[in-house]
Amino acid sequence: MKAPKFSYVRAESVDHALALLDQHGDEARILAGGQSLMPTLNMRLSRPQLLIDINRLDALKGIALQGDRVRIGALARHVEVLNSPVVAKNLPLIAEAMPHVAHVAVRNRGTFGGSVALADPAAEMPACALALGATFVVQSSKGRREIAADSYFKGLYETARAVNEILVEALIPVEKPGTVSVFLELARRHGDFAMAGLACHARIDKGVIAEARLVYFASEVRPTLATRAIAAIKGKPWNDATRDAALAALADDLDPMTNLHGSAAMKLHLQRVLTRRAIDQAVARARAA
């Protein structure tokens, strides 16, 4: 388990990194925290010719409130997001999810941008970003563009980011007063990638679900907004009938992968269990608020 030979450049600026990307195209990889990239190199599952280290690029760092959005720089480490008062106050969904991301050592190096760029189907941050309606900012030598989370996650490890683009930051609308969020996942051991998970953001008025975004991950090839289940609960009080309708609709929203962690049938079952628990909890939180 030793990586094949590769070249390494420490980017001095975003432009420098982008120029290198232009020059080397698919032969190059951005190196952020390295927590996902390095194992694939060591196992020789991928063999880029060049690693472009972005770890010194201050432009990609930091977490700050900008108007009604929180900017999380691509290089913000998981541990920084975990400890950020800005996140805790404005993005409780992400604050609730972050302790489930890996273990301390991995969180110390791994980055928010790395998670979003990689788009592992079982990763927590992509699901949360989608649930909160985030916008991702990417940049190439031609300039910047914004991609809505809704159209960013394309498939298994597949995103709308082009090969010559760097993910610069995520802009995430703050969770407004009157809304609630709940994050739940099932992993065999704490810190493992989940086998089923749900990021939920909703507005519940007097027991009626006025608006909701339910994003499922781990079971699907990409974080998945459950439009049919959402339709089944929208404008309804959370009762047995609504619940049954939502759980039934979930079969059409989801197309779980069978893999080592379990069968598609089990994952659908678990996502239904999480749905029930998450909305129960959301309703309780709304009531308590």
């Binding site: 094949p4 020789r44 065999r188 051991r189 493992d192 086998m195 080592l260 379990g262 089990m266 678990l270």
Partner: protein, 799 residues
């Protein structure tokens, strides 16, 4: 942990005030490890050293049509590219993994690397030595092997079907071994019994996952034709034999050194082809060659264990008396039987120990062991016990359930009485000095069993589903010459030895044949030597893990180090003490009988008056011998060997309790608390004994809950990383409460039995019992390990 106060009226030498037996002394090795000053094999760097890597078979079964190594030989940094056929030419003979005690057993001859055919995915095919491991891996990618895929035997259940291809034509079929034990009259007992229950259990193949993988450096010196091997291993002398015999180097010219070993668990007591290849490479190059298995190689090539299906039956009467057990085991081993210990021990131990705590007069046990295209299985911590104990305890629980009897009560009625030894188990094994009743009652108190039951009932009303498990066991430890290796003809020391020396300074060197893998063997030997001799703990230094400096011994496995090596050390220390007293007597013109050694000083036994310190004996005994009369010629060095005399094993016993909560919606199991009461005889170091039990329990729980080498229908391993093969971590593990009953074995003066596997054997059974207890209100039962959420949900009918 509460030590039992000795009940015997007479105090033993181990109860003396300056005895170190029964005391928690911290391990000198721990301090070294914490300071980062351990010497693991990868820490050793020799001049001109090369690094090895292997080309391994990507197929479970395939013919090697052609190997082209041209490009690899030219790759940067490469010193050697050696194929399996080339290595075979350097070997004296192929290995044959059979032992004569296993009557009718068959195995095929095996070379260290595949010669013309690979029989499991991961089997080494080509060995490369290069300047760095990375360059060796680069070169490995350049080796072109033309493969012709052969049909694969992936399923043990169909391995003996006539339609299934035969793995080794010379064997005629895929059968490795069959065995039957039949005592009493099982059929008649089932006919007469009030109830008979049958159930089938599945166990998933898993492996040891030592933190430090298999690691070694082979260093051949062409100038004196000696081979030194630094290797992370449990059995230096066995490895000396193995390398010597396989490569034709005279045994006295092979030195095997095991410095610090980062975990082993039985996995490092076997032959591995890549290790022999590294030795051969060093011999061909005249340079040291390091080979460190990476994690993927470890999963693919370390021995696996426990791929079993067991159909079992219990017969019992209305009053709870168990009258008969009948078990039928199918073991799926690998493509070969692992040399030199074989791969049939698992099955053999299942037959020996299943239902071992109980008094049933009728017992029948069958084993069928079959070959498959997978990496060989072999001895891994608590060989066979997790399976046999799970099966028997599950059936005992079913019997209790059928009768509406408490699981504790049915065990109370059926365990062997503490005053009934010696006696035979149902399988015909002689057992002595066991304490099932005492352990059971102690466990019930320790768990506060009745309170747990009350809490369980209360929580059920709130929709919280908790379960309590109880699992009693016997454990074979410390095999002797009549054990299977000794009687089977294996080249494995069936005794152990200690050489103890008084140095001129009065300090003591104690070289032992048992070895240390982090569990504290060296510390325990130090405590025993200091006690036997009467010297301060700090004045003894223990040497282990080096064939050049230790007396011939078996190393550490099968919970043998303290029971066998400890007694050798104790007796060696006693002999040295006797010699020192003779010398002291001559110098002091006293009768040695009235002298004693206490705290490093020869004293008057009667009143403790200081007579002469050992530093004086050391000085005179080595330098100023003229002060001694002519008829006293000190050796100040004693070797003592100890073996078990009339028993194959020292059997031990104990019992586990578990308390779990099952989420019946998700199938997730939360292990809340675990208890172990075990009897390993006299305990030398209570803390080390407890930690052996705890670590062992976690390893058993791993197999029951998480660990599984998952193969597809082509016998391709699906989970060769620690992300996909999951092992228990601290967060998921409960507090494990450990207590002991101490019934010293009568086989030795020290009275210690084995402790290293008592945590492992019953852990899978007790947690399965607890899970089934939790699921009982739903009429659901789990009989498959590992008990994944999917297995639990299926049992609940939710999928």
């Amino acid at each position: 942990m509460a030590n039992d106060i000795p009940t015997k009226a007479t105090l033993t030498p181990f109860d003396r005030p300056n005895s170190y037996v029964g005391r928690n002394l911290s391990r000198p090795g721990a301090r070294r490890a914490v300071a980062g000053r351990g010497t693991y094999t990868d820490d050793v760097v020799l001049p001109r050293m090369l690094h090895g890597a292997c080309v391994r078979s990507p197929y479970a079964h395939a013919k090697i049509v052609r190997i082209d190594t041209t490009a690899a030989r030219k790759a940067p940094g490469v010193a050697l590219v050696m194929t399996g056929a080339e290595l075979a030419k350097r070997c004296t003979a192929p290995w044959m993994g059979t032992l004569k005690v296993f009557e009718g057993m068959k195995s095929a001859p095996q070379y260290p690397m595949a010669v013309d055919r690979a029989c499991w995915q991961g089997e080494p095919v080509v060995f490369i030595a290069a300047r760095t491991r990375a360059e060796a891996e680069d070169a490995a990618e350049l080796v072109e092997v033309a493969w012709e895929e052969l049909p694969v035997v992936a399923e043990k259940k169909t391995a003996l079907d006539p339609k299934t291809p035969v793995l080794h034509a010379s064997l005629g079929d895929n059968l490795a071994f069959r065995k039957l034990i039949d005592t009493g009259d099982v059929e008649a007992a089932f006919k007469a019994a009030d109830h008979v229950i049958e159930e089938t259990f599945e166990f998933g193949r898993h492996t040891a996952v030592s933190l430090e993988p298999r690691s070694m450096i082979a260093d051949w010196n062409p100038a004196n034709e000696r081979l030194a091997v630094y290797i992370s291993n449990q059995v230096p002398h066995m490895m000396q034999y193995l390398f010597s015999r396989t490569l034709g180097v005279p045994e006295h010219n092979v030195r095997v050194v095991s410095h610090d070993v980062g975990g082993s668990f039985g996995m490092k007591i076997h032959s591995y082809g890549d290790e022999v290849a590294a030795c051969a490479a060093s011999m061909m190059l005249g340079r040291p060659v390091k080979f460190i298995a990476d994690r993927l190689e470890s999963f693919l090539t370390d021995i696996h264990a426990r791929e079993n299906t067991v159909r079992a039956k219990i017969g019992f009467n209305k009053d709870g008396t168990i009258t008969a057990f009948d078990i039928d085991d199918l073991s799926g081993i690998g493509a070969y039987s692992q040399y030199p210990r074989t791969s049939v021990f698992e099955a053999n131990q299942i037959l020996n120990i299943t239902a071992g705590p109980y008094k049933h007069p009728n017992y029948r046990a069958r084993a069928t062991v079959v070959y498959m295209n997978k990496v060989p299985t072999s001895q891994y911590r608590a060989v066979g016990h997790p399976i046999g104990i799970t099966v028997a305890e599950a059936l005992v629980d079913r019997a209790a359930e059928t009768l509406g009897m408490d699981p504790v009560e049915i065990r109370r009625r059926n365990v062997m009485e503490d005053n009934s030894y010696p006696r035979l188990t149902g399988s015909g094994i002689k057992v002595l000095d066991l304490s099932h009743q005492a352990c059971l009652e102690k466990l019930v108190r320790l768990m506060d069993y009745d309170a747990l039951r009350a809490e369980q009932a209360l929580l059920r009303n709130k929709g919280i589903w908790r379960g309590i498990g109880i699992a009693a066991f016997i454990k074979g430890t410390a095999p002797g010459p009549q054990g299977l290796y000794g009687a089977g003809g294996a080249p494995i020391a069936a005794q152990d030895a200690c050489t103890i020396k008084l140095e001129p300074s009065g300090n003591v060197i104690c070289a032992v044949g048992v070895s240390e893998q982090g569990q504290g063997v060296d510390t325990v030997m130090q405590q025993i030597a200091a006690t036997g001799l009467g010297v301060p703990f700090e004045s003894v230094r223990v040497i282990s893990g080096d064939t050049e400096t230790t007396p011939y011994g078996g190393g550490t496995y099968a919970s043998r180090a303290t029971a066998i090596g400890g007694e050798a050390t104790y007796q060696a220390a006693r002999k040295l003490r006797a010699e020192i007293l003779v010398i002291a007597g001559a110098l002091l013109q006293s009768d040695p009988k009235v002298l004693d050694i206490r705290n490093g000083v020869v004293v008057d036994a009667a009143n403790g008056t200081l007579r002469i310190p050992l530093s004086e004996i050391g000085r005179i005994g080595h330098f100023q011998l003229g002060e001694l009369p002519n008829d006293v010629q000190p050796t100040l060095s004693v070797t003592h060997r100890y073996r078990l005399l009339d028993l194959p094993y020292i059997f031990t016993n104990g019992i586990h309790g578990a308390y779990v909560e099952v989420d019946v919606d998700t199938g997730f199991i939360r292990h809340l608390k675990h208890w172990v009461v075990e009897d390993c005889g006299r305990i030398i170091n209570p803390q080390l004994a407890d930690e052996q039990v705890r670590g062992g329990a976690v390893q058993g729980l791993g197999g029951a809950l998480y660990e599984h080498c998952i193969y597809d229908e082509n016998a391709q391993l699906q989970n060769g990383t620690l992300a996909d093969y999951i092992i228990p971590m601290a967060v998921e593990m409960p507090d494990i409460v450990v207590d002991h009953v101490q019934t010293p074995t009568g086989q030795s003066e020290l009275g210690a039995k084995g402790a290293g596997e008592s945590g492992t054997g019953a852990a899978p059974g007790v947690i399965m019992g607890a899970v089934n207890d939790a699921l009982r209100p739903f009429g659901a039962r789990v009989t498959i390990q590992p008990m994944t959420p999917e297995v639990v949900l299926q049992a609940l009918g939710k999928l």
